[in-house]
């Protein structure tokens, strides 16, 4: 399989590009922010995603979805990134679907996701840095389990219908699907720098039935691994869109802004920096496509996924830094969009582990 988009994927990209730019451009995000919207995204837009079939992009055709892969999900996420569109697409249609796929939960939750009615959130992190450690306990209680602990940095956690949460059970990790109205569950939404809402969730002895378990008890590493691989690859694709959007906006600005009577894009120092940035973004693009293809092929994609998340973190961070700097004073104003790219990039860089986390993981895997 060649490492570029095939014709169908390219067509999907064109469709997604047009759709997202039309319905959820940066001004959509800005309007939600200015309105101090308490949901964090537009439910109407989520319905429209469903109408396009996109919420079912990874759901098997046999379950009513499009039955596509991570390359296709990435194509959509890149456009979401490019337009800074607030959307539960990554958590719900990508990471949660991937975890639930093939389990008994598919039948319960997929219809709502396909209809654009259900939103899922991922309660994975317990500290300010994503590190894989789980302190949260799930004790056997009656017919099911009692969950005790706290999670943080849960995007959409305060409005999600379904929360996927990892906890320690006696013999390992178990992944649970917890409805948002479970007793003892409290989600406190926090506004983040990028205007998105993310929750700190407390589980104070939340009781769930045995059928809340995704997959098997003590065998949560399987679905959790799928969730993380999908989430990381998806976040990488979204970062690619954020960085690409910032880079494009900056190159355009270089072509229109004059200083000392000439276009600033004619200054060689800026040209070289723009060319270097372009190179970084292209390299990141290669890494993201590679990770998505490997995931879709069913081969071991762990290292490629780590490379994609780490590399997009590095490249996009450079893109937004150069973006703000090259815009000069105007880039510092809230009125101009480039600052939003910087904020969103920071949040996504942190999500599912930052560049250092993944570089460290690669080093460990390589035995050093």
């Amino acid at each position: 399989m060649p490492l570029y988009l095939n014709d169908e994927q390219a067509m999907l990209r064109d469709t997604a590009k047009e759709f997202v730019a039309e319905h959820a451009p940066v001004s959509h995000m800005r309007a939600l922010r200015d309105a101090k919207d308490s949901t964090g995204f537009s439910r109407d837009l989520w319905k429209q995603f469903a109408g396009m079939g996109l919420t079912g992009i990874l759901i098997p055709e046999s379950d009513g979805g499009l039955g596509l892969g991570h390359v296709e999900a990435g194509v959509v996420l890149e456009e979401i990134g490019r337009n800074l569109s607030p959307s539960p697409f990554l958590s719900t249609a990508v990471a949660a679907v991937e975890a639930l796929k093939g389990t008994a939960h598919a039948a319960r939750w997929f219809p709502g996701i396909l209809a654009g009615e259900t939103v899922a959130a991922l309660a994975i992190d317990e500290g300010p840095k994503h590190n894989g450690r789980i302190e949260m306990q799930a004790e056997r209680a009656g017919n099911g389990f009692r969950l005790t602990g706290a999670k943080t940095f849960v995007a959409h956690g305060h409005v999600a219908d379904l929360i996927l949460v990892a906890a320690k059970t006696g013999g390992g990790t178990t992944l649970f699907a917890v409805p948002n109205d479970a007793k003892g569950l409290s989600a406190a939404p926090e506004r983040l720098a990028d205007a998105s809402l993310s929750a700190r969730i407390r589980f104070d002895g939340v009781e769930v039935d045995a059928d809340a378990v995704i997959g098997d008890v003590d065998a949560g590493d399987g679905p959790l691994g799928r969730l993380l691989a999908a989430g990381r690859t998806g976040a990488s694709a979204e970062l690619l869109g954020v960085g690409g959007g910032a880079a494009d906006m900056t190159v355009s600005y270089l072509k229109e802004r004059k200083q000392f009577g000439v276009l600033i894009g004619s200054f060689q120092a800026l040209q070289h920096r723009a060319a270097h940035l372009y190179s970084e973004m292209e390299v990141a693009r290669g890494a993201v496509l590679k990770a998505a293809q490997l995931l879709d092929s069913g081969e071991d994609a762990r290292e490629a996924v780590a490379v994609a998340k780490a590399m997009t973190g590095l490249a996009t961070t450079l893109a937004v830094q150069e973006g703000v700097q090259m815009h000069g004073g105007i880039g510092m104003t809230d009125e101009y969009d480039i600052g939003f790219y910087m904020k969103r990039a920071r949040v996504l860089a942190e999500m599912f582990g930052d560049s250092n986390f993944h570089a460290d993981a690669l080093a460990r895997a390589a035995g050093y």
Partner: protein
């Protein structure tokens, strides 16, 4: 005991007695800074106590002459005072563009009347100043400014617009570049001082990506400014501006020494991933080396040995360092440092400070401008 040793002992004793304990704690954000002025804002009452005590002694501007409200200290004494202030982690008693920018320019170019009128009020924090340099569409190209001052006998009539005026909405007076001759570029600029309460002056804050509005757009609509308020000759304002820019760059470069490093080391002590630990350690090398360079620069400046373009290097390096510091702080803080409004995050102090630093390499001349200056004026590279 030598005179200097005695001075150090006395200074230490005085500071011990007069610097309130609250003023020895690190600032938690921009709001903790003391700016003084006609309508001062204090997050803590000790800010005023500390400013007043230091101001009364002239130690807000230790090396200015006593007759202008300064401390009249020698360079060696000034250095000792700074060291003693640092020893007890004392906060800056007074943040002031009057001190860091206008003061030095007035000392060099002002008339005796101007010095006696303005400098003591600056020293005591009674009048807060802002700077009117940048204009819309002028950007880094200051010489293209268009705000006009028409000659009307004993006064000028000023019309035009400034942008990026720091705290113009909170300032009492402005020092301002205006065009008094349209036939030449840099040769037709004059340097005026006037009260922001003058009729025809209005300001509009600019909301920044940090969510703060430290800058304004400032509008002048037939503002009457006495000619006695002009510093230096008519059409010679560019000389004053250049001199003053050097001081601004010095001040901004001091950001490279920011207290943020302590926060960073603190975060590293609490535990960070091994790669970030290494990045912080290498940053700390640069940060400490820059502190040494800054000390050298200030000593050379006082001795008249510094290259006139050296402030460009300090400004460039210090501001880039400060941006890196806050990138590292954000990485150390993880998702906690992304919170924008929560109480736990002190209203998003970390991300707002991080975003604020992005302006460091833009304001007061961009990093690119500084690099141009170093290349041309220090390295003498060809055009």
């Amino acid at each position: 005991m030598s005179d200097l040793e005695q001075f150090r002992a006395e200074t230490r004793a005085w500071l011990e007695e007069n610097c309130p304990p609250e003023m020895r704690k690190p600032m938690r954000g921009e709001k903790d800074a003391t700016w003084g002025g006609r309508n001062p804002e204090y997050a803590h009452p000790d800010q005023k106590v500390w400013m007043d005590r230091m101001g009364a002694r002239g130690w807000t501007v230790p090396d200015w002459p006593k007759e202008y409200g300064g401390g009249g200290l020698s360079p060696a004494e000034t250095k000792i005072l700074r060291e003693e202030l640092k020893r007890i982690n004392a906060r800056n008693p007074l943040n002031s563009f009057g001190i860091s920018m206008l003061g030095p320019a007035l000392l060099k170019y002002g008339t005796e009347e101007q010095k006696l009128e303005h400098l003591p009020k600056i020293a005591r924090g009674e009048i807060r100043w802002c700077q009117g340099y940048s204009e819309p569409n002028a950007g880094s190209d200051l010489a293209g400014l268009a705000t006009s001052a028409e000659d009307a006998g004993d006064h000028y009539i000023v019309n035009g617009q400034k942008v990026w005026t720091s705290y113009a909405d909170k300032a009492d007076w402005i020092f301002c570049l205006v065009r008094t001759d349209k036939t030449t570029k840099q040769g037709g600029i004059s340097f005026l001082l006037f009260d922001m309460a003058s009729e025809g002056v209005s300001t509009k804050p600019i909301l920044l990506i940090s969510g703060y509005s430290p800058f304004c757009e400032t509008f002048f609509d037939n503002v009457k400014v006495p000619k006695a308020n002009r510093v230096h000759d008519e059409n010679k304002g560019w000389d004053v501006a250049k001199y003053l820019l050097g001081h601004e760059r010095e001040m901004i470069s001091g950001m490279g020494l920011g207290a943020g490093t302590d926060q960073l080391i603190e975060a590293a002590r609490k535990g960070v991933d091994p790669i970030l630990r290494g990045q912080i350690a290498l940053f700390d090398v640069r940060s400490r080396a820059f502190a040494a360079m800054s000390e050298r620069f200030i000593d050379e400046l006082k001795a008249g040995k510094a290259h006139p373009a050296q402030p460009s290097m300090m400004k460039y390096y210090g501001t880039e360092l400060n941006k890196t510091r806050h990138e590292l702080l954000m990485a150390a803080g993880g998702s906690d440092a992304l919170e924008w409004e929560s109480e736990a995050s002190n209203g998003g102090a970390a991300p707002r400070a991080w975003l604020r630093t992005k302006a460091n390499s833009i304001e007061g001349g961009t990093s690119e401008i500084q690099l141009n200056i170093i290349a041309k004026r220090i390295l003498d590279l060809p055009s």
